[in-house]
């Protein structure tokens, strides 16, 4: 592990501190049915309607594992470049809470389905690796509502038994920025794989964040686990607050107590949950209702061969196939839909021009209209045709922007728009020459001036462009003006 970068150290009264972060991410598996029952895993629904008698823990009901959830966990493991354990074991994690009707959660403790892996995270100035400790399958709990009634909590078991992947990182993260970049990258990988929708608002992706601080080179400090962090921004805030709190406690002569803390989004602070010590005695033991989960080498190989291209590979390919910079490629591959859109636009065209248009006017238009790329008001075919018109000198860059705005507002293919509105660039030198001559004749003063100040040639270019409604080819205009005014090419 490399030394912590200087900008990531936090200044305290006694000198700089290093913050050490590890994350446990709960990612809801994308599947039709639950992990051990045939009830729907879909979000929402009338209370207790996505519930089978297995999920309600009725006596005598037995869990039967959903093969798709197993495949999804393995796909995710492959995407995390991780060890796939062909034999894993389900255990019972025992605790009592009303939204856990079994009195235990079926999880994997000693033998998880996925072992060690790695995620490479890119920040603007550097890249770093986060080790994956493990990934295991487990059941989600139900949902309790506490505000409906003064004396009762309301329990809905629709989430109960939905499959989750708990992805545990090693403590390889050194700042709030790194933590945010890690979860963003992890979410991108999950979405590429199609194993989790990554929707943090609906709780499909939730993070528990472990934070400790130490002086550089010192042994690891005592950590606190922050629960309930349900957005990327909050993960950053929670780490900033918690690191500062721990530094203050230690510098004031106190010690950090290992505990679970809650992040309060309203105040931006973390607070102690004051749970009883005993609450953490889960008494794990192998679930006698479930035999060990064993998968064949062929089962894993079959999943591996149809694994989609992953973000890192796609970025490398964009850099080599389309000669894009690391930054441009990184932006375009940040989600699969953008990457596919880009490839549809760039195929057989100038890839750099395509990238510039997508990352400029196109993304700006999506932002402005508040639309996702999958519901984009402009199709890849439209943008592609526009780029063709630019490359073949039918329209200038300036007119292309105008055509883009028209497409955005009224729709239509760029070729037709240009035709209907007469926006075609004038490349006919004779026509341009006529305009150039008129402007030179009408402005003797400027003609005199340009002999001593060649930079004022731009004024003539502007006049010609205005007179032609922007349709004159700028290169042709420039060349003609230089020739007629005898202004030499700038070297």
């Amino acid at each position: 592990m490399a030394d912590t970068r200087k900008e990531n150290l936090i200044d305290g009264a006694t000198g700089p501190w290093e913050v050490i972060v590890g994350m446990e991410v709960h990612a809801q598996v994308l599947s039709n049915a639950k992990l051990f029952s045939g009830a729907s895993a879909a979000f929402g629904g009338e209370p207790n309607s996505h519930v089978s008698l297995v999920d309600a823990a009725m006596p005598g009901m037995l869990p039967v594992i959903n093969v798709e959830c197993v495949k999804q966990a393995i796909r995710t493991g492959l995407g995390l470049k991780a060890q796939i354990n062909r034999r894993s074991v389900f255990d019972r994690k025992n605790y009592f809470y009303p939204d856990l009707p079994q009195g235990y959660q079926i999880s994997q403790f000693k033998f998880p389905i996925v072992g060690e892996g790695i995620v490479t995270v890119d920040l603007k100035d550097y890249s770093f690796d986060v080790g994956i400790e493990r990934l295991h399958l487990e059941q989600d709990a139900g949902k309790s509502l506490h505000d409906q009634d003064p004396d009762h909590s309301y329990v809905d078991l629709n989430r109960s038994g939905v499959a989750l992947m708990e992805i545990v990182s090693k403590p390889d993260i050194r700042s709030s920025e790194e933590a945010k970049a890690y979860i963003t990258k992890l979410r991108t990988i999950l979405r590429y794989l199609g194993t989790c929708d990554g929707n943090m608002e609906e709780g499909s992706l939730r993070a528990d964040v472990n934070v400790s601080v130490r002086k550089q080179g010192a042994p690891l400090g005592t950590r606190c686990e922050i629960k309930n962090v349900n957005s990327i921004r909050f993960i950053g805030q929670a780490i900033e607050y918690e690191a500062r709190r721990q530094i203050d406690v230690i510098e004031d002569g106190g010690t950090i107590k290992q505990e679970t803390r809650l992040f309060d989004a309203k105040s931006g602070k973390t607070r102690s949950m004051r749970s009883k010590e005993e609450a953490h005695d889960y008494r794990y033991f192998p679930d006698p209702d479930l035999l060990p989960l064993e998968v064949s080498e062929a089962f894993v190989e079959d999943l591996k061969t149809v694994l989609p291209e992953l973000p890192d590979e796609k970025r490398a390919r964009f850099m080599s196939d389309y000669a894009l910079s690391a930054y441009d490629a990184g932006v375009l591959i940040s989600d699969r839909a953008s990457a596919d859109f880009y490839e549809a636009v760039a195929r057989g065209r100038d890839p750099k021009l395509a990238a510039n248009w997508m990352m400029g006017d196109f993304f700006a238009a999506l932002n402005k209209t508040g639309k996702d790329i999958t519901e984009s008001p402009i199709s890849a075919a439209q943008l592609g045709e526009l780029i063709d018109l630019i490359s073949s000198d039918v329209v200038s860059g300036r007119i292309a922007k105008e055509v883009f705005e028209i497409m955005l507002e009224k729709g239509g293919m760029p070729g037709e728009i240009v035709e209907e509105r007469g926006l075609k660039q004038v490349t006919d030198t004779g026509a341009i020459e006529k305009v150039v001559d008129e402007i030179i004749a009408a402005n003797p003063k400027q003609v005199e001036q340009v002999q001593t100040k060649p930079k004022t040639l731009g004024w003539f270019v502007g006049q010609v462009m205005r007179a032609t409604g922007g349709k004159a080819n700028p290169d042709a205009v420039n060349a003609l003006l230089r020739q007629k005014l005898q202004v030499p090419e700038e070297v």
Binding site: S37, G38, A39, E46, P47, N48, S49, P98, H146, E278
Partner: protein, 98 residues
């Protein structure tokens, strides 16, 4: 191997973790019973099992898997049938809040 002895405090702790109420008398008899079970387990511990795979099933049964299809649910009335209290499709339980 040292003999594990369960004291009454441990019995009470286990009972609490399992949310089982035990009287003083029951605790004493449970302590005796649990120690009896543990000493039997210790007898088993004397059997050499190094290099023996744990037996997870008899007859070589394999974990059965289901296809990913929605085949169940949509029966809130049946799910709530045994609930002491329910309302609007929810279970009602004594207020729990952390």
């Amino acid at each position: 191997m040292a003999k594990t002895e369960i004291d009454e405090a441990t019995v009470r702790r286990i009972a609490h973790l399992a949310r089982v109420k035990v009287t003083a008398e029951e605790a004493t008899s449970l302590q005796r019973e649990l120690n009896g079970i543990l000493s039997w387990v210790e007898e088993l511990n004397a059997i050499p099992t190094d290099g023996v795979e744990p037996l997870t099933s008899v007859g070589g049964a394999k974990l059965h898997m289901r296809e990913d299809a929605v085949t169940d649910g949509n029966k809130p009335a049946a799910v709530l049938k045994n609930a002491p209290k329910s309302e609007d499709g929810f279970f009602l339980v004594p207020k729990v809040i952390e």
